[in-house]
Amino acid sequence: MRETTGERAFRIIVLVVLSVFILVPLWVMVTSSLKPLQDVQGTFSWIPKRITVEPFVSMWTTVPLAHYFVNSIIVCTVATALSVTVALFAAFAVSRYRFHGRSVFTTTVLSTQMFPGVLFLLPLFIIFVNIHDATGVALVGTRLGLIITYLTFSLPFSIWMLAGYFDGIPRDLDEAAMVDGCRPFGILFRILVPSARPGIIAVAIYSFMTAWGEVLFASVMTTDANRTLAVGLQLYSTQVNVYWNQIMAASLVVSVPIVLVFLALQRNFVSGLTAGAIK
């Protein structure tokens, strides 16, 4: 189909304006991470006058960044794995069975999405403290508490999206498998999971990103022992000097892996949204 001049102009303007909007902060992040401390403490310059990799070396010692990194990776990986597993089972039930309380369950789960985090932050904190006093299981200041909390954050979206995905898989396949003697778990793992792979990948990415970027609960539930990157990165500016070059270097290092993974799998994410959310 041919394109009119107006369409072309519209496209060029939109692409240029939005690219500048996106790229300016990214440019600032990358270039500032390569500047010596002196140069980020004076007037800003778009092009670095001197280039150094020193921020990438000293950022590990200014704050225990490696420790926070390990915490974030463990918390987010375990929370994602559990969240996807729990969501798979729940979505299987919602999509393939009609049971008592099914609609109550789906409505309630979805409506938890609108709860303000500050409403259950403090009660949850108090409950965790009491569980510790009663049973000795430490949930505040440990990775376990964060894992349990984070895995519920992505659960509503994951269940909803996977149930949508499963709904799109013909039931004839289930029937055929059942005739061949498949048990329900066999149907889930041999039929639904393989066909819903893009949806599962999308849900896993979403869970991981939600946990990786969470700040509110991390700021209350973490101590030095289990501090995640989300809170750890802010500690650079409480030092005597504000090490902006190191902050930018650290921001870059914590972003690059997750951005690359997301961009590599973005097709799954888009097709997951199309099948699950948009029907």
Binding site: L15, V28, F44, A93, M114, P116, M248, F262, L273
Partner: protein, 322 residues
């Protein structure tokens, strides 16, 4: 909604047949849905009910250690927050209005930018994948990394924004503060849009993929302009996406805590005092958790009412056209 109707339509002999064969397995769905139910109850429902209870007690710093001994306060927390003659009530009302303005601006600009980008990338052309990837970067970026960078850019003496506006464009004679005073509102809105619009883009792009291209071809033969096509094809075809997108964005943006928290740190300017941030500060800086809980409950009630009204209006409109 639609899954419900599919289910209703499918309740034929096959389904009955299946159910009878699984009679011994009636407990199976309950079993596999159980982990999700337990987690939701433990992490969302019980804490929420506890939060509602907390809003009726005087849970100040004297009772933090012995919170179960806190005296019953009745409605006094609510009365204090809703009374605009008190300092707390005034601050709460101010924060609420700021948040409303913030939400309207962030949601509408994010939608406009996301729609513009999705339409601009609708037709194939060389390099489309690169733009699409670039536009998704702020979404994939951990939220605090992006906001910390903006914080650096908004610094008065060392930031990029003032360098551009003052040193290079000479728009101001004096270096303005972007994270203090009334300009803080502009800053937090810009950062939130930067972070949010790629999500709108993602959803709208996914929605556009489900519109068959022959609809456009047919209308182009009829001589419809691109603007007309957008209004008569794209927009109506995207309305299921928009329904979800607006609701989700509204809830996220209204509850937004991260952006002001990372952007402003401890020094909250009143112009950037968004409601979640306000409640957090009221609870943890002033150690008055009962008051904080009352404000959270009011916030939840507001979100609930808006969501219900939104869904009812949509349902009525749909019935009208159906």
């Amino acid at each position: 909604m639609s899954s419900q109707s599919i289910k209703g339509g499918n309740a034929t002999s096959a389904a009955r047949h299946r159910r009878s064969r699984r009679r011994g397995w009636w407990w199976f769905p309950y079993l596999i849905v159980l982990p999700a139910v337990i987690l939701e109850i433990a992490i969302h429902i019980i804490p929420m009910l506890t939060g509602i209870w907390m809003s009726f007690v005087k849970l100040t710093k004297f009772y933090i250690r012995r919170w179960n001994e806190a005296p019953f306060a009745g409605l006094s927390n609510y009365r204090l927050v809703l009374n605009v003659d008190t300092a707390q009530g005034q601050a709460f009302a101010h924060s609420f209005l700021i948040t409303c303005a913030y939400t309207v601006l962030v949601v509408s600009f994010s939608w406009i930018l996301g729609m513009a980008a999705a339409v601009a990338l609708q037709k194939t052309f060389r390099g489309r994948g690169i733009w699409r990837t670039l536009f998704l970067v702020p979404y994939a970026l951990p939220m605090y990394a992006g906001v910390i960078t903006w914080n650096f850019m908004f610094q008065r003496d060392t930031g990029a924004i003032n360098h551009l506006l003052v040193d290079q464009l000479h728009l101001y004679s004096d270096r303005p503060f972007w994270l203090l005073g009334s300009r803080a509102f502009v800053s937090v809105v810009v950062v939130a849009i930067w972070k949010m619009w790629p999500f709108a883009f993602l959803m709208l792009m996914a929605g556009l993929q489900s519109i068959p291209s022959d609809v456009y071809e047919a209308s182009a033969i009829d001589g419809a302009s691109p603007w007309r096509q957008w209004r008569s094809i794209t927009l109506p075809m995207l309305s299921p996406v928009n329904v979800v997108l607006f609701l989700v964005m509204f809830l996220w943006v209204f509850n937004d805590f991260n952006t002001p928290f990372v952007l402003f740190g401890r020094a909250t300017p009143p112009a950037g005092d968004l409601i979640s941030f306000h409640i957090y500060n009221a609870s943890f800086l002033n150690w008055d958790f009962g008051l904080g809980a009352a404000m959270s409950v009011l916030l939840l009630a507001f979100l609930l009412v808006v969501t219900l009204v939104y869904l009812v209006i949509l349902r009525n409109r749909r019935d009208l056209y159906a």
